[in-house]
């Protein structure tokens, strides 16, 4: 795990922790507003977390070419996550919920 310096590791860990806390914050925000549809946004944030875990695992093993599959998995979950985010934002469109 020496490909990344300690500061770089902390930057990664902070990003992941913030994202996890943001998922909780989205759920709480929805609860405060009495709008359960925000839970979909929180769920849509999950693939990006999985993606981040894959990237961190790859870093943990010093970014080896043997684990290149992890990078592809990360790219795939990033794509999936962004589609999920778009879908969640779509459900939050006000014109849609009024119809």
């Amino acid at each position: 795990m020496h490909a990344l310096s300690l500061p770089t590791w902390w930057i990664h860990v902070a990003s992941v922790l913030e994202w996890m806390l943001a998922m909780v914050a989205v759920i709480r925000w929805g609860e405060r507003r009495g709008e359960t549809e925000w839970r979909w946004l929180a769920l849509a944030m999950l693939p990006a977390l999985v993606s981040a875990m894959a990237a961190c695992t790859w870093h943990l093993f010093d970014n080896p070419i043997e684990l290149q599959g992890l990078v592809v998995f990360q790219a795939g979950t990033t794509l999936l996550g962004n589609v999920a985010l778009a879908a969640a934002a779509w459900t939050l469109l006000p014109e849609r919920s009024q119809s």
Binding site: N63, V83, A86, L93, P94
Partner: protein, 141 residues
């Protein structure tokens, strides 16, 4: 078992996937903004993620051309680029944590569509009672 799966995956070029993932993200940003329901700071955070993407691409090019290495193996560049994501995520987290549920971009429909009592439960906000309801409660006629 997992290694076999990863081995098969390794044959795939991830670059097009990363590029392609930008499209749904742009759609996400567009719809998130159009919904007018996101805390402004959180929306800024999601938008700032694009800055992280741009910086990462630039850093990857520098790593390749200047050092002949992938970005993840040039620690300074890697850490500096990733710091932009840390900032972006922090804005998203702050945005959703600190925003008051009533503090959204002015939307006259919002107060009527929300369940009654929602405004009363929100603390720290000055009474945001819908004009009609407020009038009937405060000065019955």
């Amino acid at each position: 078992m997992t290694v076999v799966g990863l081995g098969a995956l390794a044959a795939v070029d991830p670059s097009p996937l990363f590029v392609l993932s930008l499209l749904p993200y742009l759609a996400f940003l567009r719809w998130a903004a159009a919904s007018k329901r996101f805390p402004p700071l959180a929306l800024r955070g999601f938008q700032f993620t694009l800055v992280f993407v741009a910086v990462t691409i630039a850093a990857a090019v520098v790593a390749e051309l200047r050092f002949g290495q992938q970005l993840a193996d040039v620690d300074r560049l890697h850490g500096s680029a990733e710091a932009f994501l840390t900032v972006a995520n922090l804005l998203v987290l702050w945005g959703f944590s600190r925003a008051e549920p009533g503090q959204e971009p002015p939307d006259p429909e919002a107060s009527t569509t929300g369940p009654s009592g929602e405004q009363v439960l929100s603390t720290g906000v000055e009474p945001a009672v819908p004009p009609e309801d407020g009038a009937s409660v405060l000065d019955p006629e």
